[in-house]
């Protein structure tokens, strides 16, 4: 007879931390390379400025910094971390995973560690898996990180994407809890639309052609999918957790584009009382890092506090998506 693992009855996010790169890149700087205007960028995306990492702000350094902040808030000894999950599409080594070095960096050198590729849904994918690992008994505490240096894969001459992408890291410590602090994840994918956001070429094709494999995106189909299909997923995540709009304090969608956030908010018919994350204006789209960075910003700005009920939803290249209700630590 095999003895099965036994986990915690409930899981919760015990700490959240972010790392925002030092360098502010204004729309004026972006406009040195593309034929556009500050007004056009702001009306199409809501982005006033974004953060781009400098050389020393590597995906490893940013991940470790964000995770340490999350661990401090959680008050967890890093030695108790059983697993480290890193979501990124900009760790430019196919192998080994970034997560093993992050585990060493945060003081959990023997924790299970692996990367996932879930693009802008990465943080929500990571939190979902972390929650299940804790409840399944495979780890007592899990660190889930989203980190990107999208500026490394951005074509500064592409007027449809040059102003959107950004860099940063965000982390959550997930562990056991007396009450459920993470609702059921509603997630999925749509590989029939794999080409609407993607790397332009494979590494091999890029290498053969002596080119760099930048990211590309078809804006309008992505806008339509994100604004409407994702509003349905967000509603399902609320329903799955048994949370009504009246019980919701915060709406923190992936910071893809202010227009998507606005359209989702309208489609969900959330009450005006619900605070909406709008970190995109000063951070740009930092993919897997955007949700934890936005939450941290809302706490710093006094728009969010410990115990608040938040609807989070990530969506992006794949296409992939995941949404859940969380209680803020």
């Amino acid at each position: 007879m095999i003895t099965p693992a036994t986990g915690a009855a409930n899981s919760a996010i015990l700490g959240i931390g972010g790392y925002r790169p030092r360098r502010v890149v204004t729309n004026a700087e972006i406009l040195e390379h593309i034929d556009s205007s500050d007004e056009w960028i702001q009306t199409r995306s809501g982005i006033k400025e974004r953060r781009w990492a400098e050389e020393d702000e590597t995906v490893l350094a940013m991940s470790v910094s964000a995770a340490k902040k999350a661990l401090d808030q959680a008050g967890i000894d890093p030695g108790q971390i059983g697993c480290v999950i890193v979501s990124t599409v900009t760790h430019l080594y196919q192998t080994p995973a970034l997560a093993t070095q992050v585990a060493v960096g945060i003081g959990a050198p023997t924790a299970a560690a692996f990367d996932i590729s879930a693009a802008c849904a990465g943080f929500c994918y990571g939190v979902a898996m972390a929650s299940d690992l804790v409840r399944g008994g495979s780890a007592k505490y899990v660190v889930a990180i989203g980190v990107e240096r999208l500026s490394d894969l951005t074509d500064s001459m592409d007027r449809s994407t040059a102003f959107i992408f950004a860099d940063g890291a965000g982390a959550a410590v997930v562990g056991p809890s007396d009450v459920a602090g993470i609702g059921p994840v509603v997630w999925g994918s749509d590989g029939t639309q794999h080409d609407v956001i993607s790397q332009k070429t494979s590494w091999r094709e890029a290498s053969d052609a002596g080119e760099w494999p930048h990211l590309r995106m078809d804006g309008n189909p992505v806008f339509r999918w994100a604004s409407y299909e994702m509003a349905k997923v967000a509603q399902q995540a609320m329903d799955a957790a048994g949370i009504t709009a009246d019980e919701l304090d915060l709406f923190v969608p992936h910071q893809a584009n202010m227009r998507i956030t606005d359209a989702m908010f309208r489609a969900l018919k959330l009450p005006d009382r619900v605070k909406v994350a709008r970190d995109i204006a000063r951070q740009g789209n930092s993919s897997a890092a955007s949700i934890p960075l936005a939450i941290e910003a809302m706490i710093e700005d006094g728009d969010a506090k410990s115990g608040d009920t938040a609807l989070i939803i990530g969506f992006g290249a794949g296409l992939v998506y995941a949404g859940q209700i969380i209680t803020l630590p």
Binding site: T43, N220, F223, R224, S227, Y228
Partner: protein, 82 residues
Amino acid sequence: MASTDEIRSSLAEIVNEIAGIPVEDVQLDKSFTDDLDVDSLSMVEVVVAAEEKFSVKIPDEEVKNLKTVGDAVAFIERAQNG
């Protein structure tokens, strides 16, 4: 079946709600982008709302052909009759 002007009038309400354009400005000869200042993302929102309102399907590849309010009304009429 809704008349041309009924469709135009309903579409005007949608454009007003999404882009804040006065309903009386949404006339058949008006260009969405040049006259009404409806940008490509707002156009996506108008299309989605119109699909729901008129129970029609407006494919992505068709949207670029809908340059004027009249183009959109004509497409919706054909789609409803088809």
